[in-house]
C-alpha cells in the first residue's frame, strides 16, 4: 500500500510539473507573439513614415512657410516648438511646486491625495475635451482668440500630470535622511527645495520635461480648438494663430493634391524623428545618472 501511495504521489507530482511547464510555455509564447506583433507594427510605422517623408523632403519644404497645400512647413516646425515651449512655461512651475508640496512631510495628506487623484483623472481626459474646454473658456470667454497663449495653456493641461508625477517620483528618490539633515542644519523649506530637492532631482526633472515635450509635440486635438493655424509665424502671444506640424499631417492628407500629401508625410517624418530623438535623449540622461 505504501508503494502504491508513493507511486501515486510521484505520478501526481510529475503531472503537476508537466502541466505547469506546458502552461509556462504557452504563456511565454503568447507574450512573445504579442510583443513581436507590437514591435513589427511600430517598426512598420516608423519605416513607412520615414520612407514617405524622405522621398518627398526638399530644402524648399524645410525652409519656407506654407499653408498645407503650398509652400513649406517651416512655420509649422517653429510653431510646434513655440507651442510646446509655452506649454512648458505654464506647466513646469506648478508641477514643481505641486510635487514639492506632495513630498513635504508637513503637507496635509488629504490635499496631497486629492492632488494625485486630480492628476490621474487629468491624464485620462481625452485631448479633444481639453481642446473644447480651451476653446470655450480661453478663446471665447477670455477673448484670447486662437493664439500661442491659448494653445500653450491647452497643452500645459496635458503636460502637467506627466510632469507632476515624474518630478514627484524624482523627489521621492532623494534619501529622506538628506532632507532631514538639511532641516537639522537650519535650512528652511525654500533652502531645502533649492539646495537639496532641485539639484538632486535635476536628471529626473529633465527626463520628465523631455517626455512631456515629446508627448505634447504630437498632439492635435487641443490645438485645433486653441491655436488655429497660421501660414506664417504668429505676430504676438494673443489673437495671432499658430501653425503646428500635426495640423499639416491631418489637413494635408485630406486635400486632393499630391503636394499636400508630400507636406503631410514630411511633417509626420519630422515629428517622429523629433519625438524619437527626445525619448532617446531622456533615456540616455537617465542611464548616465
Amino acid at each position: 500500500m505504501t508503494n502504491s501511495y508513493a507511486k501515486d504521489q510521484t505520478e501526481l507530482k510529475w503531472k503537476s510539473v508537466s502541466t505547469r511547464r506546458v502552461k509556462d510555455k504557452v504563456a511565454n509564447a503568447l507574450s512573445f507573439v504579442v510583443l513581436g506583433t507590437m514591435i513589427v507594427i511600430l517598426i512598420s510605422i516608423f519605416i513607412y513614415v520615414l520612407n514617405a517623408g524622405a522621398t518627398h523632403i526638399t530644402w524648399k519644404i524645410l525652409s519656407t512657410f506654407g499653408n498645407t497645400s503650398s509652400g513649406g512647413v517651416l512655420n509649422a516646425i517653429v510653431g510646434t516648438w513655440m507651442l510646446v515651449g509655452m506649454g512648458l512655461v505654464f506647466s513646469l512651475p506648478p508641477s514643481l511646486l505641486g510635487a514639492l508640496y506632495i513630498v513635504n512631510a508637513k503637507s496635509n495628506g488629504t490635499i496631497s491625495s486629492a492632488a494625485r487623484l486630480f492628476t490621474d483623472v487629468l491624464t485620462s481626459v481625452p485631448s479633444i475635451v481639453i481642446g473644447l474646454f480651451a476653446y470655450l473658456v480661453l478663446v471665447i470667454r477670455y477673448h484670447m482668440g486662437f493664439s500661442l497663449i491659448a494653445g500653450g495653456l491647452a497643452l500645459s493641461v496635458m503636460m502637467l500630470p506627466y510632469l507632476l508625477r515624474i518630478i514627484e517620483i524624482s523627489f521621492k528618490n532623494i534619501p529622506k535622511e538628506q532632507i532631514e539633515n538639511a532641516y537639522a542644519l537650519g535650512a528652511d523649506d525654500i533652502r531645502v527645495a533649492s539646495r537639496i530637492y532641485l539639484p538632486q532631482a535635476k536628471v529626473g526633472i529633465l527626463s520628465g520635461i523631455l517626455l512631456a515635450v515629446s508627448i505634447s509635440a504630437g498632439e492635435t486635438a487641443q490645438l485645433i480648438y486653441s491655436a488655429g493655424f497660421n501660414n506664417a509665424l504668429p505676430t504676438g502671444f494673443l489673437h495671432s494663430q499658430v501653425a503646428y506640424l500635426t495640423y499639416v499631417v491631418w489637413t494635408g492628407i485630406n486635400e486632393p493634391t499630391t503636394y499636400s500629401h508630400d507636406l503631410a508625410f514630411v511633417s509626420a517624418m519630422i515629428l517622429v524623428l523629433s519625438v524619437t530623438a527626445l525619448i532617446l535623449i531622456s533615456k540616455y540622461i537617465v542611464r548616465r545618472k
Binding site: A105, Q178, A182, Y183, L185, G186, R195
Partner: protein, 256 residues
C-alpha cells in the same frame, strides 16, 4: 542619586513632563530630564524606547511629522523652545543622525552647506579657515590630508560620520546631539568617535543617544535611562552603573 552630583552644574536644556504620542501610541510619557552644559549627557535605553524621538523633539524636528503630538515643556537656556523660530533653534541645537549621510558634494561643500543656507557671506579665506577648524574639531582634517575636494560620499563610514559632525560643528551650536553615532561603525572608527566625543565636551554640550553601554561607560558624564517610553533613572558617571533600580539593573544585564 543624582541630585548631589549635579546641583552646581548649569542646565542648558530642561525637559518637563514631555509627552509625545501618535494617534494610537504613546512614545514618551511625562519625561523629566536635564541636559548639563559642557558635559556628555547620555540617553540610553532599548531599541524603540523613544530615545531618538526625544532628540528630534529637542530641536523641533519632530514637528515635521504631523502625526506626532507633543505636550509638556522644553526649556533651552531658560526659554521655551516654542518661543524660538525652529530654523534658529536648529542652528543652536545641532543634530547628527545615526546613519552618516553626507550630501553628494565635496567635503568642503558639505561642511560649508550650513553656512551657505544661512546666507552667510564669508570671504574665501575666512570660509576656508572656518571649515578647516570644523574638520579639525571633528578630528578629520589631518586624515583627509587636506584634500577637501573629494566627494563626501566617497569617504569611509567612520569618516562620513565625522564629516557629518563637522557639518554640524561649523555652525557653532551650543548643543550637539549625536544619535547612535557608532552603531554603523567598525571598532577602529568607533574608537575615533569615542575620542572625539571626549574632546567635544570642552567646547560643546553633547547629548548622546545610544544603546551601546561600552560607549556610555567611556564617555558619559550624566546617564539617563528611558525604558518603554518612560524616564526611569539618571546618574553621574559610575553611579548609574551601580544603581539599585530594578529597570537599570535589568537594562544593564540585557545590554551587556
Amino acid at each position: 542619586m543624582e541630585e548631589k552630583s549635579v546641583e552646581k552644574v548649569e542646565k542648558v536644556i530642561e525637559i518637563e513632563k514631555l509627552k509625545i504620542k501618535t494617534k494610537n501610541k504613546v512614545i514618551l510619557d511625562r519625561v523629566d530630564l536635564n541636559i548639563f552644559r559642557n558635559n556628555v549627557n547620555t540617553i540610553v535605553g532599548p531599541s524603540g524606547s523613544g530615545k531618538s524621538t526625544l532628540l528630534r523633539s529637542l530641536n523641533r524636528l519632530l514637528e515635521m511629522d504631523p502625526a506626532m503630538e507633543v505636550t509638556g515643556d522644553i526649556l533651552f537656556e531658560k526659554r521655551n523652545i516654542r518661543d524660538f523660530d525652529p530654523v534658529e533653534l536648529r542652528r543652536e541645537i545641532g543634530l547628527v543622525f545615526q546613519k552618516p549621510n553626507p550630501f553628494p558634494m565635496s567635503v568642503y561643500d558639505n561642511v560649508a552647506f550650513g553656512l551657505r543656507i544661512q546666507g552667510k557671506k564669508l570671504k574665501r579665506e575666512e570660509m576656508d579657515k572656518v571649515i578647516v577648524q570644523a574638520l579639525e574639531d571633528a578630528d578629520l582634517y589631518e586624515e583627509l590630508g587636506g584634500n577637501l575636494k573629494q566627494m563626501g560620499t566617497s569617504l569611509s563610514g567612520g569618516q562620513q560620520q565625522r564629516l557629518c559632525i563637522a557639518r554640524a560643528l561649523v555652525l557653532r551650536p551650543k548643543v550637539l546631539m549625536l544619535d547612535e553615532p557608532t552603531s554603523a561603525l567598525d571598532p577602529i572608527a568607533k574608537g575615533k568617535i569615542v575620542d572625539l566625543i571626549r574632546s567635544l565636551k570642552q567646547k560643546y554640550t553633547v547629548v548622546l543617544v545610544t544603546h551601546d553601554m561600552n560607549l556610555t561607560r567611556k564617555v558619559s558624564d550624566y546617564t539617563n535611562l528611558i525604558y518603554d517610553g518612560k524616564f526611569v533613572a539618571k546618574g553621574t558617571g559610575t553611579e548609574f552603573f551601580e544603581s539599585k533600580i530594578e529597570e537599570v539593573k535589568d537594562f544593564l544585564s540585557e545590554a551587556d
